[in-house]
Point group: C2
Chain length 578, copies 2
């Protein structure tokens, strides 16, 4: 016998639908309902019938073999044969993170297929994989941020067992695995949660749908839904950490905010498991409270995706000025990002039309992620262009060096390491025709620059849009891509071997730049990174040498005891004797 | 010549209307508009014309002689002859606050008339007056929370000069003055602010109208509007502090929240003026972050209205269980409030249907205000009943003793000190017929208990409802009221003369109670407060005496070396030799 349980304060009657059987459930004082039923055989999928309507899937379903509208399947987390006993993830301070979308990482788009590529990641030097959301979302393809069955690994990726095999395989290869989880909204399709309980609120809105009810009536159980989800991934799937999507879209005015509760419960689990766990925030608020220690009123999350680093680097490299890039563009901004993480730490933002952010005083560089690109920065462009589409190979190498020699935790997006020729487009697979059309339309409205040629924007619903976004692994062998891959490997090896590069103390970073001639010097202990983004060769004065050449992106780079000469779009890393 | 200035990002054209003249204003880059005009004579009221519409009043008007829809009058803050030089307010740790509504405090309902009653407050032992909002609101009578011209003292109260005379007179009598300010919404009438700029947001709502835009585009100037308002009251009107209304109705997700900015600017002003200033929060979130020091991530406000103390005391004394009172009622709750300020410090609230609050660890009792009643707790009842309407005089004395012997900052509401026979009703004076009717209707809907006799609820718009709420000072001489007044004076004197009563260390408070027989012992150093709220006499064991009797509310109270015997509804304060 097994006990089925469901929190459902809204309906007056709940039945368990188990195969052809309808089993009445008993309501308890806390609005949980239970029923006992014989153990399920393989085909014994189940659902709940609320006040006669349904069956609909279990909000805490472990598996949705037929997708978000189908029945739920119970999965035991006791039976998987883990082989990662004693595993400990390396600390973020020595991490190189690799962001990965299961559906497009391999031709097959499955957990299983991803396993075959792990050697590539190990050879690259990555220490952590970060999986874009794997929770069940509508259809067979999507980025994953419109999840609804947050406890169920997506059926098209290979479900619960596939995911466990992937995490286990990673650990065997000494790769840590972080999962991207979305606790700020639910997807529009297959979202039955509000039939059961008060998961969402109409007090606030997010750009993607109603906000989650974290501080209103009945919010305790809503918090449990999300906290238990986090604990499940870490405990039952052996994840080493979570990336918390878009925390700025959570409005929570309570005295003990949800994020604080979540961080506290993960901390307790960490102690129980004896295994290091990390929480990495995405938030556009530039609010160091997310990272500050508890005794300073902070939530003590481990790290923060630092978009200011990205935007300031991206604009310096591309000259783009549209949208939020209008707030960036100078070498001064990029140098501020290098030395203080946030460019906007209380200053007026033209894009936001108000002062923004707060200085992250006392925080180490290893509390911030630095990247030249990520799924959002690529995929939220109309044509999904990677940095390698937007700039020369020479300039791409400069960007890679500035990320991988930064005092932050560097992150690459799948294929970045070889300058993949494939785009990463926005794709979805909504079965509902009206919604599909709305997504198409919304996508077009997002890019007024394409107003006259809307058909140029790839149709998110088209299978081709998804297919085009898959990595083409064959190209890695082509000389151009192999050279880019080699450059990344070299930089990562250097980051490993040179303690100065891994030093997270931002206040020790020294910068020097010429805004007009576009050259930049970054000193990190005994190491100096010099780059020239100008149109003419630059002769840049250095600390007195002799300078050992660790890496040059261009054979035309020369150095004397006091001066480096760099052709346009080149970068060099020098080392002074200790 | 004088420069008129106005922040107005919305209109395309702004003109200054000065008497019959229309003077074009010049727009500056920061969306401020200016115009030079000859100094105004007494009758030279002004307004602004936005894109040809108007004139409408200045959002920062110093005076609205004809109300919220009328023209503005410029007032110089340089000319008033202050006589309070060298004034310093006493600290909150030795304060007794007296909440006062100017319109009903005296028959005339003016600042000037209030001055005549200051001797009464001095004799009572009050140290601070807290004025309910005096900003311009619609009509000639109202509580003041629906203000729109936040810089203009209400014309019906006596305008800017009247207010300055009142504050000056208070200071001469060594009374500090705190002003209640409403920074969470604007009133529905005379609200022209959003014609000028982006003062409100549709992202969040308050129960009383759109929320203020503290963190969205254009919010910097909105923050300036409120910060400058706070600074004006403290600097130009010599207020000693502000009571910040309903901070829980402010949703502000920025990294440097408005409240933190406001507190910082007031702190700077304090240093500049060399005069102690306090900020007192109203917030229903039970969030000690408001009070915590900056280094702990707090906003370092000075004190917090503690409704949990009120609710737990009120329910113990009245047995009421409606609405939020359902969350309280036991002596255990009241004792928790005495020892930990918040009853809800993270525990589940049945009324709110979620966990609520956070422990105010390390905070002194003097950071919390304690009261048996206030304008809200009285006026938000259908019939505006004071505690003296709801309980016997004997029980009222118990309540007063428990407030005035608490480790908190005690506060009385005008007339409480003599058990005034007048109610304090909800009243308004909206000229707009539809709005007036909506207010009436809203009031009726608020009290389902009156569904069958809605006419029993006093009409908020009726002049009589306001008139009935005015204090009847003559009654102070009647023996019953004189006795209550005497009891309050005695308790306040005792609080002054007994250091143990003024001790804010909540962790030193010892409590003992019998939930069934309804007696309660509160030990505060050498002092013991014993009260019997049961229906039978109570014999309560005390620390070994001899006990000196400091105050008894009932002549039937007796005490031996170890035992106090109290008749029902009585309270006694004993002292042990040091």
């Amino acid at each position: 016998m097994r006990t089925f349980r469901i929190w459902a304060p809204k309906p007056k009657m709940v039945e368990l639908a188990l195969g052809p059987r309808r089993i009445p459930m008993s309501r308890h004082e806390d609005d949980w309902w239970t029923a006992e039923a014989a153990s399920l055989d393989a085909g014994g999928d189940y659902g709940f019938i609320l006040d006669g309507k349904g069956p609909i899937p279990d909000p805490r379903s472990s598996s949705q073999p037929s997708g978000v509208e189908g029945l739920s399947r119970a999965v035991s987390h006791e039976t998987f044969a883990w082989s990662d006993s004693g595993w400990q993830a390396p600390p973020l301070s020595s991490a190189v993170i690799y962001e990965l979308h299961v559906g497009t990482f391999t031709p097959q788009g499955t957990f299983e297929a991803a396993i075959e590529k792990l050697d590539h990641l190990v050879e690259l030097g990555a220490t952590h994989i970060e999986l874009m959301p794997v929770n069940e979302f509508s259809g067979n393809r999507g980025w994953g941020y419109d999840g609804v069955d947050l406890y169920a690994p997506h059926h098209a990726y290979g479900g619960p067992d596939g995911l466990k095999r992937l995490v286990d395989a990673c650990h065997l290869k000494r790769l840590a695995v972080i999962l991207d989880v979305v606790y700020n909204h639910f997807g529009p399709v297959g979202n039955f949660l509000d039939f059961f309980g008060f998961y969402t609120t109409d007090h606030f809105k997010t750009p993607w749908g109603p906000a989650i009810n974290f501080d209103g009536p009945n919010s305790d159980e809503v918090r449990r839904f999300f906290c238990d989800n986090a604990l499940m991934w870490l405990r039952d799937y052996h994840f080493d950490g979570l990336r918390l999507d878009a925390l700025h879209a959570i409005v929570d005015c309570s005295a003990i905010p949800f994020i604080e509760q979540l961080a506290g419960e993960v901390k307790e689990l960490e102690a129980r498991l004896g295994r290091h766990l990390v929480l990495i925030a995405e938030s556009d608020r530039n609010d160091p409270r997310l990272l500050m220690p508890r005794e300073s009123g902070g939530f003590a999350l481990h790290a923060h995706w630092n978009d200011d680093f990205h935007h300031s680097l991206h604009t310096v490299l591309t000259g783009e000025t549209a949208g939020y890039y209008a707030d960036f563009g100078s070498l001064a901004d990029f140098c501020k990002a290098l030395r203080q993480a946030y460019v906007y730490d209380g200053y007026y933002s033209k894009f936001r039309k108000c002062r923004h952010g707060r200085p992250p005083i006392g925080l180490d560089g290893h509390r911030f992620l630095a990247y030249l690109q990520n799924h959002d920065q690529i995929g939220n462009r109309a044509l999904g262009e990677r940095s390698s589409f937007l700039m020369s190979e020479a300039r791409l190498k400069v960007g890679a060096a500035l990320v991988l020699a930064s005092p932050f935790v560097p992150m690459l997006f799948q294929g970045e390491e070889w300058g993949a020729s494939t785009p990463f487009l926005y794709f979805s697979d909504h079965q509902d025709g009206a919604l599909a059309e709305a997504v198409r339309e919304g996508r077009r409205r997002e890019f007024p620059a394409f107003a006259e040629h809307p058909a140029d924007i790839p149709d998110p619903q088209a299978l081709e849009t998804f297919a085009r976004s898959k990595l083409t692994w064959e190209e890695v062998l082509q000389p151009r891509h192999a050279a880019i891959l080699d450059w990344h490997k070299r930089l990562i090896r250097m980051r490993r071997s040179e303690p100065a590069l891994c030093d997270g103390r931002m206040d020790l970073v020294r910068t020097q730049f010429d805004e007009n001639n576009r050259w930049l010097v970054v000193e990190r202990g005994t190491l100096t990174i010099v780059s020239n983004l100008g149109q003419a060769p630059a002769a840049v004065r250095l600390r007195k040498g002799p300078h050992q050449l660790l890496a040059v992106s261009d054979v035309g780079i020369t150095v004397t005891v006091t001066t480096a000469t760099l052709p346009p779009d080149s970068v060099a890393i020098f080392k002074l004797p200790e």
